[in-house]
Symmetry: D2
Subunit: 155 residues, 4 copies
C-alpha cells in the first residue's frame, strides 16, 4: 500500500471538507479547487504553525509567499462531502525559498493528491526575493521532513 | 446599534475564516466569495442541522436546493484573516421553498453581510420543484425565526 | 413573454460562455459563479464602455467600485457550454453610487438571471465614498436606461 | 531569451484577460486561478480544435478528461488587466492519455506560466480509462508538437 500514509511526525495538518462548490458536473473535485486547498493549508500553517498570519505577512509586513513551481499528482478522485486531511511538511529550506510536500488524504489515510511545491518569500513592492529571517527559520525547522524523504525531492 | 446582532436562538451558525483567496486587490473580500460562504453555510446546515448531507441529497436522492432569489446587503467590508460567524435562520417554509435569513458577522457580532434567500427543493432530473417531505419539515422547524422577524420579510 | 428581452438600446453587453468550472454536480451553473460573471461585466463595461480599466481605477487611482447591495432573481438554469449574453444598463446615477440593471440571457434572448445592483465609488485607502467625477458621469450617461424602466427600481 | 516564445505552428491558442477576481491582495494572479485558465483552454481546444465540446463529451457521452498530473512553473507574475495568450500543444498521445504543453504568455510573448499536464479520457460512470477513439486521434494529431520538443518531456 504505497499510497497509504500516516500523519507524519512534524507535519502540519488540517481538515478539509469537499464542498458542493468544489465539485464539477462529473461529481468530483474540479482540480483547480485543490490548489485553493493547498493555499489555505499554507496560510493556516503560517498562522497556526509559524505564528505569522497572512494578514500579518502580506498586509502589515508587505511580504508574499507565491508559488514558483508545483508538481502535482492526482492519484484518486474526491467527491462531495469527503472529509479530507491536508498535510504539509518542509522538504528544504533555502535562502528565500521553501520546498513543501503537500498531501490530501481520505479518511483512511489514502492519498488523493500529492504535491511538491516551491514557494518564495518576496517583498511585494520590490517584487524581489527576501531572505527568510532567522526567527522564521527556527519556527519552520520542526516541520522539516526527516532526511530520507528529502532525498526523493527532484526540485 | 441596529447592525449588532447576537446569535439568535434557534439559528444555525458556523465559523468562516476569510482566506487569502477570498480577497481582491483592494484587500477586501471579493463579493462573489460571500455567496460561496452562503452556500457552504446552507450545505453545513443540511448536514449538521437537518441530518441530510448534500452528498445524500444531491448524489443519492437526486435532489437539489438551488437559489431562486437572493437579496444581499454588503454592510461592512471584511479583510484577510477575519474570523467571521455565518448564521442561518428560516423565515418561511413554503410547499417546496424555504426563505432563509443569512448573516455574516465579525468577532464583535457586527453585521458584515445580510441576505435573504429563497431556495427551492427540486428533482434534478425532472428539473421541477418537489414538496418538502414531512420529516424534513420537522427538522427544519427548530431553525425558524420568531414571528416578529418573519413580518419583515419582503420576498 | 415577459422574460424575453432584446438587447436594450444603450445597454452594454458581452458574451459569456458557461465553463466546466462554473457548473456544479447537478450540471448547472453554481450560483456564486454568476456573481463573478457580473463583476467581469462591470469590469469590461468600465474598460470598454467608460474608457477606464479596473487596473487604471484600482491600481493607478486607488479607487474601487464595490457592491453595496444586489437583488438577484435566478429565473432559469444555465448549463455547461451555454453561450450567454451579459447585459448592463444604468438605472440611476447618484452622487457616488450607481444603480445597475444586469441581465444574463440565453441565445434566444430568454432571461436566465436578472439583478439590480448598487455599486459605490470609493477611495480604497480612506475606505470612504467618493463623488463620481464629471468626466466619468458623461461617459456613463449613454448607458442609462430610459425613464420608464427607472421607475421600477426599488433601491 | 529562453522564455520568449512565438505561437508555435500547430498549437491552439486563445486570449485570456486577467480579471479583478483572479487577483489577490498582493495585486497579482492568485495561482489557483491559472489552473482554471488551463481548464478553460483545454475545454476551448476540445470545442474549437477537436470539434467536441465538453457538453458533448461530459453530459452527452459520459466521458471526462481529468488531470492526472501537472508540473507547473510560475515564471513571471501577471497583474489585473493583463491580456494573456494561452497556448496548448500536444506532446504525446497515449492509449487513453494525452500529455499537453501549456503556456501563458504576455503581450510580448514573454512566458508567465509553463505547464506540462497529463489528462486521461475516462468513462465517468465506470471511473475507468477509455481508449481515445480513432476519430478523436485524427483531430488531435495536427496539434502535436514537433519531435524535438517531445524529447524534453519527463512525464
Amino acid at each position: 500500500m504505497p499510497d497509504q500514509q500516516p500523519i507524519a511526525a512534524g507535519a502540519f495538518s488540517m481538515p478539509v471538507t469537499v464542498r458542493f462548490g468544489d465539485c464539477d458536473p462529473a461529481g468530483i473535485v474540479f482540480y483547480p479547487r485543490y490548489f485553493e486547498m493547498f493555499n489555505n493549508l499554507v496560510e493556516e500553517w503560517c498562522a497556526a504553525g509559524l505564528g505569522s498570519s497572512f494578514r500579518n505577512l502580506v498586509i502589515e509586513r508587505g511580504l508574499g509567499l507565491p508559488a514558483v513551481s508545483i508538481q502535482t499528482d492526482f492519484i484518486a478522485t474526491s467527491t462531495l462531502g469527503d472529509k479530507l486531511t491536508a498535510q504539509l511538511s518542509v522538504l528544504k529550506i533555502g535562502s528565500s525559498s521553501l520546498t513543501l510536500a503537500v498531501l490530501l488524504m481520505g479518511e483512511g489515510g489514502d492519498v488523493r493528491v500529492r504535491a511538491t511545491m516551491v514557494v518564495v518569500l518576496i517583498d511585494i513592492k520590490k517584487a524581489s526575493a527576501v531572505r527568510i529571517p532567522d526567527p522564521m527559520r527556527e519556527r519552520i525547522a520542526p516541520f522539516c521532513a526527516p532526511q530520507e524523504q528529502t532525498n526523493e525531492v527532484r526540485n
